[in-house]
Symmetry: C2
Subunit: 338 residues, 2 copies
């Protein structure tokens, strides 16, 4: 099988195949996926001296960061870079938007940079084995796992907090403080991502306290931008829904929500208590300081690298590590008479 | 000249030379600098088949980010990555702490990854030509230039805002709003960095308004951490110094200062007005929203890449680009009767 046959099978030009496999940005996702899948099905091996040179074993690990400008990821990326270098590997970073496909981006990166393995920082929790079959190198999901998908446990590795349980802890903390009308602010309640797990944790906490979940108290921002979170929180207030507490699925969303509440004449925590998950450093310095469940950013990054390196070296197989988050009490939760 | 001779000249082992030149982390900065400088003085070319392979022309551009966790840099890094890929180059990221030497880190990265050029995101403004002689590839300083150093203009490229002038604009805005007792919060008033330029802008604004600069109103945090900025601002208040306005040299420092003022019983802007430089998105959502001079993060990153690529391709020579910041009025500055 040569590149001409591959191009014919895919119904595209030889030049398009070449550009698709080398990560050229002017190729559509659809075409790139088709080329990569067809190449894999037919065991296509690129030819030519240049390709041979590139294909010698490299020492590079790729990290695909999904969610540009996610402040929480900054500390994780730094830990991953340090750990990668400590292990003697090269660190290759690629950032994508939240609406891009991390698997496709990862495989394109792996091929064009001849990577030994991939770390996905952020991604969907509902992969099918057909989707991940695209990947030709071992990979570790960092800060998420395949909770809604069909991957076998031994087909991938992950390191994460228990998002459902930590969300339940956060919401239970609000309930312990006397709140019964608890709203939730998240990207999407059903998107096969970490947000959906945190939504499940929110509902678990309510159920355990015998509080019926009120759909009117769910605000979806459709993303993680500050602007989107602000609008969703403002919409919740404008809807007339009554709540004394809010659980936000990320610190940045909580900060935007505090601002939206403020602009609506509601003060935190006097009128509405707010809790979130992440523990970015800036949320300790806002007024009020956020009460949040701190994810162990450094440990998440270091663990992802050590797991991947052990697999690359043939010293370990795929496994799944759960780390604990820790409650950091700020000033955004107030006790009320329940 | 072979590696044995080089090792002898440096007074270290062959293995140390090899590790120093390949960016191994267990070599001290002092030894690495000596090895790199000696190698360059004696035109040492690494030998061996592996090295020959690595030494073929690469398509990689390195970016050295000084100041881990600097939220403002997040948007610039993203722009640099996008522009690098658009130009058909590979993007290699390396992050260092503010106390590390970016030139040394850059040259080590350039050698070990066979880079075509370097972008320094953040760095000192006082390089000597002896220091930059270490670098074997073209480089662009992004967000700073060599204002206090001895480099010839044609020896390097830079893209930045006019930090001195923008700081003057910020402080003049406070003065226009009736403030005469204006404090400044910065990392260090005399560290040969952007902070020193912003300090000069602060003094210019005072001088133009005929206000004597009061040394008691300068608070130095010794770095850009939120914690350091908080302590420095708290110390300023505790010193008993009287001021009605504060210019912070970065948005994150301003956020920490607002918190320190709050903890000391002072409200922003009712008791103290605050202005800063950067324009990170989170500072639009805090209470109060920060009034700040927004740096064009996207344009800074894109310009750095296009300048470097033009030099690599032999289409341009070193040059210096100044971009404008824009005042974003928030809620942290109050007009007082001056």
């Amino acid at each position: 099988m040569n590149i001409k046959t591959l191009a014919k099978l895919c119904g595209v030009s030889v030049s398009t195949v070449s550009r698709a496999m080398n990560g050229h940005p002017d190729v559509s996702d659809e075409v790139r996926r088709k080329v990569l899948q067809t190449a894999q099905e037919h065991h296509y091996v690129p030819n030519g001296a240049a390709r041979d040179l590139v294909r010698r074993p490299s020492d590079a690990i790729g990290i695909v960061v999904k969610g540009v400008g996610n402040i929480f990821f900054t500390a994780v990326i730094r830990a991953i870079e340090n750990a990668t270098e400590d292990e003697g590997f090269t660190f290759v970073l690629h950032q994508i938007n939240t609406d891009e496909d991390e698997l496709l981006a990862g495989e394109t990166l792996a091929r064009s940079k001849n990577l030994r393995g991939l770390i996905f920082l952020g991604g969907r929790c509902d992969y099918t084995s057909a989707q991940t079959a695209l990947l030709t190198v071992p990979f570790v999901c960092c800060t998420y796992r395949n909770s809604f998908g069909t991957l076998a446990e031994d087909a991938y590795s992950s390191v994460t907090v228990d998002d459902e349980r930590e969300a339940e802890t956060a919401v239970s903390y609000l309930i312990e403080n006397g709140h019964r009308d608890v709203a939730i602010l998240l990207s999407c309640a059903k998107d096969g991502s970490v947000g959906e797990l945190r939504y499940a944790g929110y509902k678990n906490a309510l159920a355990k306290a015998g509080i019926p979940a009120d759909p009117a108290l769910t605000a979806e921002s459709g993303g993680y931008s500050l602007h989107g979170a602000y609008r969703a929180a403002a919409g919740l207030v404008a809807s007339g829904a009554r709540f004394t507490a809010l659980f936000a699925a990320a610190d940045t969303m909580a900060l935007a929500a505090v601002r939206a509440l403020f602009d609506a004449g509601l003060r935190v925590p006097e009128d509405v208590s707010v809790i979130s998950i992440d523990g970015i450093s800036v949320s300790q310095y806002t007024v009020p300081a956020l009460t949040t469940l701190v994810q162990p950013a450094e440990e998440l990054g270091r663990t992802a690298v050590s797991m991947l390196v052990a697999i690359i070296r043939g010293e370990a197989i795929n496994r799944h590590v759960t780390l604990a988050a820790a409650l950091r009490k700020g000033e955004s939760v107030k006790k009320v008479s329940g």
